[in-house]
Subunit: 178 residues, 2 copies
Amino acid sequence: MAALDAFTDEGFEAATVASIAGRAGVTERTFFRHFTDKREVLFEGSAILLEVVTGAIAAAPAGLTPIEVITRAFEAVGPFFAERQVFARRRSAVIAANTSLLERELLKLQALKHANADALRTRGVPDPDATLAAEFGATIFHVGFQRWIDDPAETGLAHHVRRVSDELIALVSGAAPA
Amino acid sequence: MAALDAFTDEGFEAATVASIAGRAGVTERTFFRHFTDKREVLFEGSAILLEVVTGAIAAAPAGLTPIEVITRAFEAVGPFFAERQVFARRRSAVIAANTSLLERELLKLQALKHANADALRTRGVPDPDATLAAEFGATIFHVGFQRWIDDPAETGLAHHVRRVSDELIALVSGAAPA
DNA sequence: CTAGCGATGTCAGTGACTGACATCAGAGAC
DNA sequence: GTCTCTGATGTCAGTCACTGACATCGCTAG
């Protein structure tokens, strides 16, 4: 991707939109017709991710707890990222180096939370459970994804997600008889 | 606060930095010496919030579970916001109306997570528990704060935080014997 | 009185982003 | 085949957030 190359080579701040557009063989104006802003280039995939996760929530078997539904939904995105592992790592490195990109990533995660809460409600999960399960899901995905990126052993993302889910359940359950 | 007035009157996007600075009786250049960017004006208090919460984590009695420590820490910020209720509501309305401000808010919450995880580690809570308890805390604060803002009955923030914590523990514990 | 320092003002510049208008290439009507 | 209509792209001018360099000013210590 032209933008990722530009950010890697020149750094996010230093890479001018004109430069990115130039690498892609288009005009700066055209760039802004495709992406709402300079940061958005790195988040094209988030819409697809959202569809995969909400789809998995809708398709989950009946009778599961909301926590189990959301955990499985995020396990389901494993293959999606497995195909993009190299890209995901490069992208993460750029994002980690830039606060404004981190901001955007957190915003996408927030949008994902809302979409997942909606999907859970559609499934018949009432609030506050839907909202809280969606928060739970965002947490295990966020932490699990980070571990996957950092993990040189390259275990699957799904494995990390399930593991974080288990850890979080154990931690929180331990506080139940407070 | 001049900036909040400007954002309320003119809208965040339309309010020019020159206009905000003018209301405060200073120059645009001076504005940027006080705040790193236009959005940052609304987040002056986040540093104080961070100190209150991390302080409460450090000061919590020994022997509590990490989940209980973090819940108490966020209960402790109740008085801080009680004094600023009117301001907090106006501010929230402006932030809710602007995606770029929401981004910044999420970034501050992320910083708070990291600081809290550090504070827990300092207390002797090992990872992954420290990280996950910090995530748990961000969730209950985020949801509890929103309820407090929306709650016309004006129950205290601490009450909302405790309640969300209880709900989340119940929800997650229910999934324990998965 | 003065030397020095921190805060502010002034000015010029860069780059993200937008609106208005021109151009161009391809799909379908005839 | 050419005409036309539409969607994508280029061009241009403008606004505004943000920055660096330099001047100024008020206060405080000596």
